[in-house]
């Protein structure tokens, strides 16, 4: 008898036996389902959790809040279906801090987990119920968990306005605007507000007047060799390409002056020039490497460490006389230097040269073919995306739009070898080394630290399809850029001295210096005229200070009149408090409060012989500088007058505020 026949005899000999066999088989089959359930991964975690809490003193309350089975957060408005809490059962249990994952509580955040779910911020597959499916990308599901170092990007899906607590996202967005990314790439918010550049690449229409072909050659070969802080990227040009590009740029350049540049007697007294540079507070905007190798100064203008090797003296003279002659859009103010000062600054800047920088650059006169090739290169590399160049139109959408790059479909990405197949890794690799994706790629090489790359990736990852699909009410929009432009003679002076480069007025301008929107309510006219002519230091701890613009009496008084009239707060009437009517007893009481109850001297110097705190402005001449009603209201609620002011919101009672105001208005000391 064959084996088959034996089995058949055993199981199916008669109908009774066959029925029994089928019944047992069916029973086994049916048992598979509960057995499979018993071995679910999440059930294992839930059992682990119960073991974990069993022996804790708070175990009873933890157990009471524990719910078994698959848990789900469903938020139809946000397109969220999350089952993460099936395994992450301790997310809301603060007492479990320090236990091993997946049971740790979520760190405190300003949002309720049940209102936002998990995948909004962490990505991953919310409806998966196994570790691998939820956290990793698989063939069917391509959204892996977002690495923690980019998690701030998720805040950026709703928070378009800079947010305290997400420094990396804020830095990344600033960099997108400042490092030239948005000159080539369009990046728009879900509402369609397009990110604008905050850098001002120089126009090249008259570049031959400014610098030499040799300098251009050396610069475009390696901008960071000239200035470590340069934001211009490296286009990795060959020697021949750099030769031809520099030839074309010189060739297209046209004169910017009607006649020859005015001759200047350059002073050889470098020390005196350095003093003018210092007194004019050029370092508020320009950085320079000092003798110790430290970079000192701001980043509004270009670094000047080797500027003597770059600019032609006759150009520098005209530039210092009035920068707008060469570049009408420059952020640099018109300083109104006299010829002697121009000569001194030229002497100082001329001494900031580095003979090594262009030592090996030897260029033959350019041929027409080289110039023509240079023009081709300018078009190919997109130079005109950033710079104005004669005969080359600004190319629109030179590079791919990045408005939705944060949720790019993996299937649409061509990964270079060795890069993990995730969107963050792709973006990071592209920024870190664009040429790893092929040498024909147009994107240039930027010089960035790891932290800067993380910041840029974070900002780009915020540009998701999810952000677009969220209800508009959830988004916190950035204020749209202000186009405020004061008119008339004062308006022209404000433009000429580029007040907006540092000061914010009515929502427009820089953040380096105080907001002047309500300056007219804050100060006295006499002081303002004097300050405009001879700016002195109000805040001893500040490095960046108001430059001296060498204004005429007429200019200073026009500007002061305008500020006193136009920049008035609606919060109070600046004539409402007469400083001469304060009682002496008030002032005496104010002095006690100033030094005692409120310890104002911790931050303000009033008596230079005695006081030491130097965070806030000096108050030695508060009585001639400030408006009494402003001081009174400032003491009551400074942030109401100037949002973000560092002054404490004292919520001071009328009596205390009046007494301190009376005391401060007595302070008219010191010539300075």
């Amino acid at each position: 008898m064959s084996l088959f026949e034996k089995i058949r005899q055993l199981l199916f000999r008669d109908s009774m036996r066959a029925f029994g066999t089928f019944s047992v088989a069916l029973l086994l089959l049916l048992a598979v389902v509960p057995a499979k359930d018993h071995f679910r991964q999440w059930l294992g975690y839930q059992n682990d959790y119960q073991r974990l809490i069993r022996n804790r003193s708070d175990g009873v309350s933890l157990a009471r809040r524990f719910q078994g089975g698959v848990q789900q957060t469903w938020l139809p408005d946000l397109n969220v279906v999350d089952r993460c809490t099936t395994c992450h059962v301790g997310l809301k249990e603060a007492s479990l801090v320090g236990v091993a994952q997946p049971f740790r509580p979520h760190p405190p955040i300003p949002h309720a987990l049940s209102e936002f779910g998990c995948v909004m911020c962490h990505r991953g597959q919310g409806f998966a119920t196994t570790v691998d499916d939820a956290h990793n990308s698989t063939l069917a599901w391509e959204q892996p968990i977002l690495p923690a170092r980019y998690v701030e990007s998720s805040c950026g899906q709703c928070h378009e306005k800079p947010l305290t607590g997400t420094p990396q996202l804020n830095t990344g967005r600033d960099m997108l605007a400042r490092y030239g990314c948005v000159h080539c790439h369009k990046i728009a918010s879900p509402e369609g507000q397009v990110m604008t550049a905050t850098d001002t690449p120089p126009p090249l229409r008259h570049v031959a007047a400014k610098t030499s072909r040799e300098w251009i050659y050396a610069w475009i070969k390696n901008p960071q060799a000239y200035a470590a802080t340069a934001t211009m990227p490296n286009f990795q040009l060959s020697d021949d390409d750099a030769r031809d590009l520099s030839a074309f740029l010189i060739n297209q350049s046209t004169p910017y002056l009607e006649g020859p540049a005015k001759a200047v007697a350059v002073s050889s007294d470098v020390q005196a020039g350095s003093s003018v540079y210092g007194e004019s507070f050029c370092a508020s905007c320009h950085a320079m490497q000092n003798a110790a190798g430290l970079m000192v100064g701001g980043n509004v203008g270009p670094e000047l460490t080797r500027v003597g090797s770059k600019v032609k003296p006759e150009w520098l003279g005209e530039w210092l006389r009035n920068p707008k002659t060469y570049d009408p859009e420059t952020a640099m103010p018109h300083y109104r230097f006299d010829e002697k000062e121009i000569g001194m600054v030229m002497g100082f800047l001329g001494s900031k040269a580095d003979s090594d920088f262009m030592a090996n650059v030897k260029l033959e006169p350019a041929t027409p073919a080289q110039i023509a090739h240079g023009k081709t290169l300018v078009n190919e590399r997109g130079c005109a995306s950033c710079h104005e160049i004669n005969g080359i139109a600004h190319p629109d959408n030179f590079a791919p739009e990045l408005s939705g790059v944060g949720s790019l479909a993996l299937a649409k990405i061509l990964f270079a070898p060795g890069i993990p197949h995730t969107v963050p890794d792709y973006i990071a690799a592209k920024i870190r080394n664009p040429h790893s994706f092929g040498s024909a790629l147009k994107m240039p090489q930027f010089t960035l630290t790891d932290g800067q790359i993380d910041s840029l990736v974070t900002a780009l990852l915020a540009q998701t399809a999810r952000a677009k699909s969220l209800p508009a009410t959830m988004r916190i929009q950035a204020p749209s850029p202000s186009t405020y432009q004061p008119a008339g003679k004062a308006g022209r002076l404000i433009a000429d001295m580029r007040c907006f480069s540092c000061h914010m007025i009515n929502g427009r301008g820089g953040s380096m210096a105080p907001d002047l929107t309500w300056e007219g309510s804050s100060v006295q006219r006499g002081w303002l005229v004097n300050f405009l002519k001879h700016p002195n230091t109000l805040r001893p701890a500040l490095i960046r200070r108001m430059p001296k613009f060498n204004m005429t009496d007429d200019d200073a008084s026009t500007l002061a009149d305008y500020i006193m009239t136009a920049y008035q707060t609606p919060a109070f009437d600046s004539d409402s408090m007469d400083a001469s009517k304060f009682a002496a007893a008030d002032a005496a009481h104010g002095k006690d409060l100033y030094y005692g109850k409120y310890a104002c001297n911790s931050c303000h110097i009033l008596d230079p012989a005695k006081d030491k705190g130097y965070l806030g402005p000096t108050l030695t001449q508060a009585g001639t500088r400030l408006n009494a009603a402003w001081v009174f209201h400032w003491l009551q609620n400074a942030q109401k007058l100037r949002p973000g002011a560092l002054e404490i919101n004292w919520n001071m009672g009328d009596d205390d505020a009046r007494a301190i105001t009376a005391f401060l208005m007595q302070q008219k000391g010191g010539a300075k």
Binding site: G44, Y45, D48, R51, L52, N55, R56, S57, D58, G98, A100, Q101, P102, R104, P107, P108, I109, V131, D132, H135, N136, I145, P147, A148, R149, Y150, V151, T164, G165, T166, P167, Q168, L294, V296, G418, P420, T422, T449, D450, G451, D454, P540, A541, I543, K597, Y598, A599, S602, C603, K612, G613, Y614, L615, N637, Q639, L646, I648, N649, W650, N651
Partner: protein
Amino acid sequence: MKRAVVALMLLAAAGCHRVSSPGPAATAYGVAIVSVSGDKQVAGAGAALDQPLVAQVNDAQGSPVAGAMVRFSAAGDVRFDPPSGLTGSDGQFTSKVHLGGMAGRVSLIAITQDKSGKAYQVEFPEIALDYQQMLGRELSEQYCSRCHNPESTAERVSNHDNLAAPPHLFSDGAALNSMTKANLVAVISHGGSAVGKSAEMPPYGLTLSAADIEALAAYIRAVADPPYRPQGVFNANP
């Protein structure tokens, strides 16, 4: 339980680590390893540390050893770039670090071996901050550090030494750990004079929101040295 942790660690490793080819073999051996720089840094969970870790391998006489193998390791998904390599002519090996995704005290370990294979190690203690603590750090940079941090930088001149009652460093655990959180919040909100301390500490209760002040307290706890030990829950688990 253990399986779960291992699985998670593997996951994190699979997600983050680049495959590194085995480096060159050690050409020299030391008998001690010390930290040169890079310890006691504070950064957001998952973020890059500002300064790289620098470890130095020494011989029995305390002179630096060139060509010794140094390997960095840590629990969780900390990334080292590079994770291992040979010391240079100065006996030092440098690695850049991205912290792991979990906030808290982080212990990064540099290991070297002598000829017999005996391991020597040095710890680089670091601190990873969660969201609330990061917020606290941002706020502290804006409002507090000018007085509470005696160090001056080019961008921020310290006011610390101008005050009659020197403010505590936020890392001063010896002084601040003994204060309850309610106490910390009270000093920040109502000022020093309200709790019998110097009026030089102003009241921030109306300048900052309650959530901001909570965040400052969380940051103070996070950077405390010695570390802050909360009154924990009794836990009989091993």
